[in-house]
């Protein structure tokens, strides 16, 4: 029996705000336990929540970046259940009237473009962190009350690899929008997976199984790579799957049933009477709309189209916005943007990484890079010399023209001079010369190398090759 997988993802993303969702405590990873807490986020008697304006904006902004409808009326609800990491024993969330819904996300997958529909995105608060010791447990409430955006996809994903690419695309959009740093290692992104299998082409969905406890996007992929075959195997053997929640064990590489020590999930949702509905006004929506940025995919396509860049170069720029800005500011001033891209990616980026500096620290002027390219194009210097010049530019900030003149690096294209070097090299290396004449073509490279050495690298390599060949073939 041929089965297909049907996968939906619920991604929880911590919003990049200075303070928590309902109080002024700092939204800050890594602080000492219970140092970013106050009566409100501890659920002390008598406290009330007050909405974080930036979190509201980032929520709607995310909705816009994901092409969602922003309904004119949304509200906050209480989700009631007891657990030590939840100070009020209810979580303030959005149940049936979320702030964004019915959107989509386009991303590259398997050599083409895929679209996953976004069911909804809603705003809620994060809970504290449970820590377990030998004989007791403790709770750190620093994280309690941090604004969380839950982004729910339709079950449009069909494979582990596709889920992985979707998550990375979503992360990139969130970073681009300034919505979240989406660093899964710092707990800024969490993902629950809903997966079922059904006979290929069937329309009815199979039993939906939820998987929790993945710590990375590749963990999500691994979990699906295990779970999908597992489900298919059960069905193949004539077994039945029941709707359940399973826990991914990354070390063992398996999912296992979670013992249901969780209470029955009747959350008794009702509208939170401490908060006003969230009904954004047109001027407010305008404000948020102005924060919408070009999406990574659109940017990549535009760079490829406008500057004739290959996908890999465009992707590099998309993943490094400051570099992209640098490139784009110069690209309009050259008729060879691909060459510029090579310099920026292969040389500039590499150098910056080596020296652990940033574009802000650059010593040379942007125009110098164009100048360097012009020197190569006019054959004033060879491309290998150009590498040297670049290194000097980067180190000292001098213009390339200055460097070439001071160090006498101009390419030698004077055929007379090259002929002389060639004669010298042939005379000094009779063996290789004879080898070439008797058919060992590789010997030419050795002789070329010798000529370059004699000319201190300045001979025009193309001319050297041609002249040597001519002389040797005589």
């Amino acid at each position: 029996m041929d089965y297909e997988a049907v996968i939906g993802l619920e991604t929880h993303v911590q919003l990049k705000t200075k303070s928590k969702m309902w109080c002024g405590c700092a939204n800050q990873f890594g602080a000492p336990p219970n140092s970013n807490v106050c009566p409100v986020c501890l659920g002390l008697p008598g406290v009330l929540p007050v909405a974080n304006e930036e979190a509201l904006q980032l929520t709607v902004l995310t909705g816009l970046l994901l092409h969602c409808e922003i309904p004119p009326f949304a509200k906050f609800d209480r989700k009631n259940y007891f657990y030590p990491d939840m100070p009020k024993n209810y979580q303030i969330t959005q149940y049936d009237k979320p702030s964004a819904r019915n959107g989509w996300l386009d991303f590259e997958f398997a050599g083409g473009l895929s679209r996953v529909r976004i069911t909804r995105a809603h705003l809620e608060e994060d809970v504290g962190k449970n820590l377990h010791f030998d004989r007791h447990s403790a709770v750190d409430f620093n994280r309690a009350g941090v604004p969380l955006l839950e982004i729910v996809s339709e079950p449009d994903l069909t494979s582990a690899a596709m889920a992985y690419d979707y998550l990375n695309a979503l992360k990139e959009i969130l970073i681009y929008g300034g919505v979240s740093d989406a660093d899964m290692e710092k707990g800024m992104v969490r993902c629950d997976v809903n997966v079922s299998v059904r006979p290929r082409g069937a329309t009815e969905l199979g039993r939906k199984i939820e998987i929790k406890n993945m710590n990375s996007f590749s963990g999500v992929r691994r979990a699906l790579e295990f779970e999908i075959p597992r489900q298919m195997d059960v069905l193949d053997k004539g077994g039945r799957l029941s709707q359940e929640t399973r826990r991914w064990d990354d070390a063992a590489g398996v999912t296992e049933t979670m013992r249901s020590k969780e209470m029955a999930h009747d959350y008794r949702y009702f509208p939170d009477p401490d908060l006003m509905p969230f009904a954004p006004s047109p001027p407010w929506l305008e404000l948020v709309a102005r924060r919408v940025v070009e999406l990574p995919l659109a940017k990549k396509q535009r760079l490829m189209r406008d500057f004739q860049l290959p996908p890999s170069d465009a992707q590099t720029f998309v993943s490094d916005p400051p570099l992209a800005d640098y490139f784009q500011s110069l690209a309009r001033q050259t008729n060879n943007p691909k060459a510029l891209a090579n310099w920026v990616i292969n040389n500039l980026r590499a150098r910056l990484a080596e020296t652990q500096t940033t574009l802000a620290d650059l010593k040379f002027q942007p125009a110098h890079l164009l100048e360097l390219m012009a020197l190569v194009e006019s054959k004033k210097i060879s491309s290998s010399i150009a590498q040297q010049v670049f290194a000097e530019m980067f180190a000292d900030g001098e213009s390339p023209g200055q460097i070439v003149d001071t160090k006498g690096l101009a390419q030698v294209s004077d055929t007379g001079a090259i002929e002389a070097f060639c004669d010298q090299a042939i005379a000094a290396n009779p063996g290789p010369a004879a080898d070439f004449k008797s058919g060992k073509l590789a010997a030419l490279n050795f002789l070329k190398g010798q000529v370059m050495k004699l000319s201190k690298g300045k001979a025009n390599p193309g001319l050297v090759g041609a002249i040597l060949e001519r002389k040797l073939k005589r």
Partner: protein, 488 residues
């Protein structure tokens, strides 16, 4: 006359004229507490040293001519449901253990800004659930007019303390009548502001959409002064309203000519104690003599108000009280796992009435019942609110008895279901609809002599009108000058 027997405006005047000191006023209150609270049990605790220190500071301010603080040096006591930094906060429950609040409610900060001496933790029904103070985990408060009787609730301690001159005024909270009813039963003035008028930040929540903090005072002018001091939008309370705060006391000029007072036909169904009925009717006649017009109105959805109230209030309470679990603060009973810890802690810490309401509230929100109960009750609530707003298009205030009877004896709840219904119906619609209401003394029963209250309900942010009416009546009837028996 001892200073504790004065009203706040009388004391403020004496203090301003340097005829008395704030310290002496506070000492007189403490003396009275010493004398009577052993039998009255209005106070759960109080910090005499702290109170005297505040009074001392007030005297210093008075000496340096600080004339602009309206409540400077006035001792005001607080229901133990409102957070005061550094003071115990028990809500008359065992579950809070030895909890001391690390912050003060906004109303407390406002009272302090107005110069008041804020002291004491007043007894109440546990978590404000009840109407007699018998549900306190620490024993019932007694009615100063008859110690065998209840003072009402849930702000029973507040009403008793004010009536017995243990303080000059008090703050209480009102979710279904918990300021107005005890005020009526103890013969003082009690006002529930319009929802959103006064910040709820620092009020331990019972029912978030119904709760308001309000004053219990010896006369209407004091209620106006306190209301002005504690009102105003608070950025820490998203449900507080940016309505400007008028000088409520300035409208108390006795002129109520032409104001229209509605009497709801749905409230006149019999079942009232005849003496209560007579006193309220006489009060309404008096208001007519003073120039008000009496108009019959209809509130057609009255019969559904009690059901809607008990569903909404308990639902919200079930969530609001979930935080009391012994994990972060309060009394904890250990368990082998969190669930056991929760059930043991809450089992031991909550009293029976609180448990009843939490269970009921959980039920009406539960899957399969939400639509039939909670959702429906909220819709009915809208209909009830419309009734009132429609009525207020024709009248300026609505008059009712505050309670159907005078105070009953401790341990003796009324067995008459009609009376039980009436005891809720007069007050809860005010909370359901968010409008304002004040209870003012309008007489006494005979043998025993027990206070009777007249309630005036006003439209949203219509406190000025009901205070004006209440004040005019009060000044013409003088019930407020009566005090509980000296044998107290």
């Amino acid at each position: 006359m001892m200073l504790n027997q004065l009203t706040t405006w009388q004391l403020a005047a004496k203090l301003a004229r340097r005829e008395a000191s704030a310290r002496q006023a506070m000492l007189d209150c403490l003396d009275q507490i010493q004398r009577v609270d052993g039998r009255l049990h209005a106070f759960l605790s109080y910090d005499a040293a702290d109170a005297m220190a505040q009074a001392g500071q007030a005297d210093q301010a008075l000496a340096s001519g600080a004339a602009d603080k309206p409540l400077l040096g006035v001792p005001i006591a607080i229901k133990d449901v409102i957070a005061v930094r550094g003071q115990p906060l028990s809500c008359a429950s065992k579950i809070l253990g030895n909890f001391v609040s690390p912050f003060s409610a906004t109303v407390i900060e406002k009272l302090r800004e107005a110069g008041a001496v804020v002291f004491g933790r007043l007894n109440m029904d546990e978590f404000a659930m009840g109407s007699s103070t018998e549900n306190s985990a620490f024993g019932a408060t007694r009615n100063p007019w008859d110690l065998s009787r209840i003072p009402g609730g849930s702000s029973g301690g507040s009403a008793a303390a004010v009536a017995a001159d243990e303080c000059l005024a008090a703050l209480g909270s009102d979710t279904g009548g918990s300021i107005r009813q005890p005020a009526a039963l103890c013969g003082c003035v009690g006002l529930k502001p319009t929802y959103g008028r006064v910040s709820r930040y620092g009020l331990v929540a019972f029912a978030s959409s119904l709760d308001q903090i309000g004053p219990l005072t010896k006369d209407v002018r004091d209620a106006a002064l306190l209301l002005a001091a504690i009102s105003g939008q608070d950025p820490r309370d998203s449900t507080s309203v940016p309505q400007p705060v008028p000088d409520y006391a300035s409208g108390l000029n006795g002129d109520i000519k032409g104001l229209k007072i509605g009497l709801a036909r749905e409230y006149m169904i019999g079942g009232l104690d005849p003496q209560v009925s007579a006193a309220v009717q006489a009060a309404v006649k008096q208001l007519e003599k003073l120039g008000a017009h009496i108009v019959e109105i209809s509130l057609p959805h009255t019969q559904y108000a009690v059901a809607a109230y008990y569903i909404i209030a308990t639902a919200e309470a079930s969530a609001n009280l979930a935080r009391f679990d012994g994990i972060r603060y309060g009394a904890r009973v250990e368990g082998a796992d969190p669930i056991e810890l929760y059930s043991k802690t809450r089992g031991a810490g909550f009293g029976p009435e609180v448990k009843r309401r939490v269970i009921l509230g959980t039920y009406v929100l539960s899957s399969g019942y939400y639509d039939a109960y909670y959702l429906r009750a909220q819709k009915v609530r809208t209909l009830i609110r419309r009734d009132f707003l429609e009525a207020f298009a024709h009248v300026d205030a609505i008059a009712t008895p505050t309670t159907p009877t005078a105070a009953f004896r401790v341990g003796e709840k009324s067995g008459d279901p009609l009376q039980m219904y009436l005891s809720d119906i007069f007050t809860i619609s005010c909370n359901l609809t968010g409008i304002c209401g004040v209870s003012v003394p309008c007489g006494f029963t005979e043998n025993p002599k027990l206070p009777i209250g007249l309630q005036l309900l006003g439209k949203p942010f219509g406190e000025e009108t009901i205070l004006k009416l209440a004040h005019a009546y009060e000044q013409s009837a003088n019930w407020h000058k009566e005090k509980p028996p000296p044998s107290l």
